[in-house]
Amino acid sequence: MVFDLNKCMGCQTCSVGCKTLWTRDEGQEYQWWCTVNTLPGRGHPRDWEAMGGGYSNDVPQAGRRPARREWGGGWDFNYDEVLRSGKAQDVHLQVLGEQPEWGPNWDEDQGAGEYPNSYFFYLPRLCNHCTKPACVEACPRGAMSKREEDGIVLRDDKSCRGYQFCLEACPYKKIYFNFAREVSEHCILCYPRLEQHVAPSCVRQCPGRAVWFGFLDDESGPVHKLVKKWEIALPLHPEFETEPNVFYIPPILPARLTEANDFDESRPRVPTEYLESLFGPRVRPALETLSREMETTRSGGKSELMDTLIAYWWKDMFKPFDQDPGEIEWSRTAGEQPGKRAG
């Protein structure tokens, strides 16, 4: 999966698409398997990048589980009071009980820098379905596994006893503990959709054409081209050594402005050092490739890379997972195979 951070507009349609589909049961109120946060920012859960996990020189690193208050979310609101008590003119919508100190997308659009050269961008995050998943290795019960046929990291719900070593070991903190069912839960990459050739919800719902999906080794597909051929899509925090399979095209943002309000192209709006702290040392060559190809098209030339990034043909972004989910008769019963909707 590749997200173009130049195109992501932080609309949260991916987050809501996922939430609506997968995390509406008891114990999942605070779970957002797909989240979009503003960067620079503290993220979700708060300050997750400092919580450890992953590997260093192939040695597992200690990680800690986020506290519930560091996740935030799952709040109850005073809907009854505002909407049904006739007090709508006097009371405002607010969280009931203990007041939150953090939540998903808490520091939206704060970013960094000084006007007029302040900057921010959006970072969608979900389970990276890593090639070297620390969660799988951490579980003492073998409840986590990486599916042979497509590499999806899954958890056996019957085997999981909620010991949460997976949460500790995941350096991306993309596993949640379900306090009601006492099990861990995380993104399943919409595998029931994939099995019907339907792209994951977060992919197909994106209105900005900002995400490509497919097999990394499919040389004809855009994911392979963006990651392997042009090398402009990079994993988040490669230093965690889990080898994520979600990749990001680093953001460029508009040019800086001088005090005289002229364009200042001597240095980028987003400090390259900051992007390197996220995506590693391959950021510079990736940005150079992007700039070069943009210049090619600006001067009237043709660029296969730019054509891919523009994404003229929506369904080409996630072939062969371009089946319309509306044409399928879905079943909520485990083990029952979905079929094609009649007519």
Partner: protein, 204 residues
């Protein structure tokens, strides 16, 4: 260890404060922590190496039966009350009475595939108990028939717990052992303290 006969109702024997428990002999059982190097996942071995596992080192045990059911009254000091997962940074305290399923199961590894351990398991966040079978650290599976009853209170820095089950499920085992998980020390799965020897169990 002797389980004396107390001809009392189940609900009475399930009360750790029932005065009749004073008649049951009190055994002080020394516990030790499991070995981090023996843990089943590379992550746990790497992270727990050199750390103290099994902070509960002493357990007071009494046993009694009423011909139908067998009850163990366990008491141990625990300055940190963990009745649940808190804010997500601790685990609920837990304890288990262990019986050899067959053969001579290694207590230091919570059984083996060849010699399983049957456990009457209690966890502080749950009503009732669980009948589990272990064949190694963190291998527990719920048994087909669930029959364990529990009742517990934490007061003045001590857990007082009664775990009960059918007498017939215990009589042919003849030996018993114990395990405690201290939630504030992140103890769960194979990280716990245990009584290192099987104790003879006689039914009075």
């Amino acid at each position: 260890m002797e389980a004396i006969k107390l001809q009392l109702a189940n609900r009475t024997l399930l009360k750790h404060s029932a005065p009749q428990w004073k008649r049951a002999p009190l055994r002080h059982v020394a516990l030790r922590g499991t070995d981090p190097e023996e843990q089943p996942s590379p992550y746990i071995r790497a992270i727990w190496s050199g750390k103290r596992v099994g902070v509960v080192r002493t357990l007071s045990v009494q046993a009694a039966h009423n011909r139908q059911n067998l009850f163990f009254r366990l008491e141990w000091p625990d300055p940190t009350h963990n009745p649940d997962y808190g804010d997500g940074l601790v685990f609920p305290d837990a304890a288990a009475v262990l019986f050899p399923g067959d053969g001579d199961p290694p207590l230091a590894r919570m059984g083996s595939p060849a010699a399983v351990i049957d456990a009457w398991y209690w966890r502080a966040n749950r009503d009732g108990g669980e009948s589990l079978m272990f064949h190694g650290f963190a291998t527990e599976q719920p048994k087909a028939v669930q029959f364990v009853v529990t009742s517990a209170d934490w007061e003045d820095g001590r857990w007082r717990l009664v775990i009960g089950g059918p007498l017939e499920a215990a009589t042919d085992r003849k030996r018993v052992a114990f395990a405690v998980w201290e939630g504030s020390n992140q103890e769960r799965a194979g990280l716990h303290s245990y009584s290192p020897q099987w104790q003879e169990l006689s039914i009075g």
